[in-house]
Symmetry: C2
Subunit: 191 residues, 2 copies
């Protein structure tokens, strides 16, 4: 097990309906030393890539993205969630469905902050169905920029998001891929 | 002028109705090297305090809080915005009005992540009317913890938030306090 898998086993809580609570260190309280290990590990895995920008989505992607950005020395842009579509044309937008909250949000990124020269590393805390990630990829493509890498902290490998993204040929690195978890025993099986 | 005031003068845009756009480096695209300077400066100003936790609010406070946390070696908790009040009693909640968006949100923090022993540093990117900040202070007080410091990147000194908080006796450090700005000339006057 790597450092993140160990942390998940120690401090994560498996709930019913395939919910994994990691709010004590990842997406409510944030363990910054752990984030530094995550950033360092992304840097190691993508050491051959020259990114110009990191793109993430509010809110829980921001912390990991900012700490990771220190290792790549690039700025971070975070996509904002918005109920309304921006009509004045200065924003890239995508529709993103949330399975957890049973809602559809628009995510928006100002056109000023992604240009066609950008080589983008997308960072997020979780990958399950992959709707948020698909929205971010759409936005990068719309800008004429290229997605050179995707770094995810925790992937739920039993949900289809990661497989789809890999099938599409994107370079996706998930630091912990969960293939199975059991809310009665609390057991977690990593790939 | 300090480093942040210089950045605001160079890259900030003064809009009508006292709006300052700093989305190219602070709250949409994030300049991580600048955030490191901000974190270092908070560490210098609060060098005599022993914090146990940083509290911020989603979304644009998270980046600064995470980078600042590296200098204090403490975890970050971010308050979540929520349309609904959580009823099961495991959350601290506060009501926060947004003048920009003309809405009222609830902000929530899990009771697990602030305890009465905590000495809290509150971090946010902006202080204007201070509604968000008041909500965060309420939550810390409800937890029986103490607010030992408040670090703000940009304070709009011509709006009442900062004055109220200082009147209440809190130790508030704002790295750039704007006393006046003029959307016709683009001029910004710092305190």
């Amino acid at each position: 097990m790597n450092f993140l898998e160990e942390k998940i086993v120690t401090d994560g809580i498996v709930k019913e309906e395939n919910v994994l609570k990691v709010d004590s260190f990842l997406n409510h309280q944030m363990d910054i030393k752990l984030f530094e290990q995550i950033g360092e590990e992304f840097k190691r895995r993508f050491s051959d890539e020259k990114f110009t920008k990191i793109l993430t989505i509010e809110a829980s992607g921001i912390g990991i993205a900012c700490i990771t950005a220190r290792y790549f020395e690039v700025p971070v842009v975070f996509a904002k969630k918005s109920k309304s579509i921006n009509l004045d044309g200065d924003m890239y937008t995508a529709e993103v469905e949330s399975f957890t909250h049973k809602t559809t949000n628009h995510v928006i990124v100002s056109k000023k902050f992604i240009s066609e020269d950008d080589k983008v590393l997308i960072i997020d805390d979780f990958l399950a169905n992959g709707c948020a990630l698909q929205g971010l990829i759409k936005i990068v493509n719309e800008a004429g920029a290229s997605v050179k890498g995707i770094g995810i902290a925790i992937e739920k490998g039993f949900q289809p998001g990661g497989k789809i993204i890999r099938n599409l040929g994107y370079r996706l690195e998930s630091l912990a891929i969960i293939d199975n978890m059991d809310s009665t025993t609390g057991e977690i099986l990593f790939r």
